[in-house]
């Protein structure tokens, strides 16, 4: 009898093949379930001209990639920090003409991902009808429905080269379990896998396969869709691993404040990314035990 292959991977193996100009899709939403340690590693590798996709929302993950000069095009329906404000790196780069912004609605990206997942050439959405989005983004086509003649938006299937996502727990085969919401991660994995790309999941904890077989109804994403699993405790920090630990608001505000000046941005990237070659070193330098205990405790309400 053969042995089942483990997908536990090093960062080097997981990011092998990631090249300038490729399409990267990031799971999670806003500042939740963002695989931040992989984002930092991509910056350290100085990958350039990425097309970065995230749905429905991105914040520090994509903003940091933009500020670090890794991004040519942004495909994110909402780029911002919600109640904490707008995205500084994104705003500046868009105003300076340094990035292309692929204007869109959530349902445009989802239709494009769904098309990839089902191996269709394109998807449709009602969103965009009556708006300026077709003029701003020529990839979104205003079309007439073949059956009713009703105006709709068509969008080509989106096939990312690489998907990165973060879950609370996974086994060595790639089954994933989330403590809280998994957002669009399943769709992201399906679209990437079916489109021929690679899916990398980081997890706070690698758990035994038996942890999944004893309650398969609680498995969120099947190992069939996952190529690599990397164990990275607090790998989403300073974002949340939804339901396992809260995002660190002060650490996110620290980024926002640093981003007010060009020098501040450079210093932040140096301090939080370039000067810490590994996740362990990042944790040693920027995270103290107290803040982790607090991040965990904050998932409860008395």
């Amino acid at each position: 009898m053969g042995t089942r292959t483990s997908k536990l991977s090093s960062i080097d193996l997981a990011l092998d093949g990631l090249e300038d100009g490729q399409t990267l899709i990031i799971g999670g939403s806003l500042f939740h379930n963002k695989p931040m340690f992989l984002v930092r590693e991509i910056i350290r590798r100085q990958i350039k001209d990425l097309i970065v996709v995230s749905v429905p929302q991105a914040s520090i993950d994509v903003d940091l990639l933009i500020s670090a000069g890794c991004v040519a095009e942004v495909r994110v329906p909402y780029m911002g920090f919600e109640y904490l404000g707008l995205a500084p790196g994104f705003r500046k780069a868009a105003s300076d003409g340094k990035i292309r912004v692929w204007e869109c609605d959530e349902t445009h990206i989802l239709a494009a991902l769904e098309a990839s997942a089902r191996k269709l050439p394109s998807g449709i959405a009602k969103a965009g009808v009556g708006t300026d989005v077709h003029r701003l983004n020529p990839d979104l086509k205003l079309v007439k429905d073949h059956i009713s003649g009703e105006p709709l938006t068509a969008v080509a299937a989106l096939k990312p080269d690489l998907a990165i996502m973060h879950a609370a727990a996974g086994d060595k085969y790639g089954n994933l379990r989330y403590s809280g919401y998994s957002f669009a991660d399943l769709m992201v994995a399906e679209a990437t896998r079916q489109g021929g790309g690679k899916v990398v999941a980081s997890v706070d904890e690698v758990v035994p396969n038996a942890s999944f077989t004893k309650d398969p109804f609680r498995t969120n994403i099947s190992c069939m869709l996952i190529d690599h699993v990397i164990e990275a405790p607090y790998g989403a920090y300073p974002c949340s691993s939804h339901g396992s630990y809260q995002f660190n608001e002060a650490a996110i505000v620290e980024y926002l404040n640093a981003s007010k000046t060009e020098q501040g941005t450079l210093d932040y990237i140096d301090d939080h990314v370039m000067s810490v070659p590994s996740h362990d070193e990042y944790l040693d330098k920027h995270v103290n035990l107290h803040s982790l205990i607090e991040a965990k405790a904050k998932t409860y309400v008395d």
């Binding site: 994104f90 912004v101 609605d105 969103a127 105006p151």
Partner: protein, 268 residues
Amino acid sequence: MSIESSPVAWPELAAFVLSKELGDGEIGSPGGARSEIPLAAARLAQLTHAPNLMIITSAAGFVANSVGKAPAPLFHSTMDYRNIYAGTETVLNFMSVFNTPRDWFFAGGLQVDSFGNLNMTAIGDIKAPKLKGPGGAGLSYASSVARRYFIYMQQHSKLSFVNKLDYVTAMGYGSGPGDREALGLVGGGPALVFSPMAAMDFCNVTKRMRLRSVHPGHTVEEVLDNTGAEIIVPEDVPTTALPDAETIEILRTKVDPSGVLQNLKGAR
């Protein structure tokens, strides 16, 4: 008496006024960059006149009803995991969030025009915008399908209430009656706009924005001086009614026990 010196902060007044718009048995989603305001509005409605109202926090699929449950804190973000403690009964699959009916949702915007069209894209030339907005989020989708929706603007100025948007991100009534129907937009369009100064609805016939009430401490003249959009001003514009003591009590002890709304930036 102005709101500044009145017993309620404007985000609380917003939550109160908006709660009265929400009907019993409806399904809706709080949203926008200050989602704690519509979230509070929906919970207040559940605890007053709409016990069968269901809230879907769109971004995280939480389906909640607060009736008969212990008070939970109000958090700034509808995506905050801790909202599971605020009466959440179901968590929708991500795609189900888009496949479930909506009687209403809430939206914000950089600019709104006289017909309730919204700009979230940018101010200025798109190639080098003065202000790059966060993007369309799901506004175009939601505004095309929801039975109606509410717009809340954090600022009331000539820059935010304009006659012509720099970019249309989500269509309200287009350029007037019949535009939505012609494009097959099945949702009913915007119903109410709330700002720190006033509440505005839309004329049934012309679909143009109409001043409905002015908040205590503000005047019709002041509203018009700060509105760049052409809006209908009826002969009599009432003062926005404040919540009664009982409603304030529910708002402050059951909906927002930690005073998040009172302490929002610019709340007073």
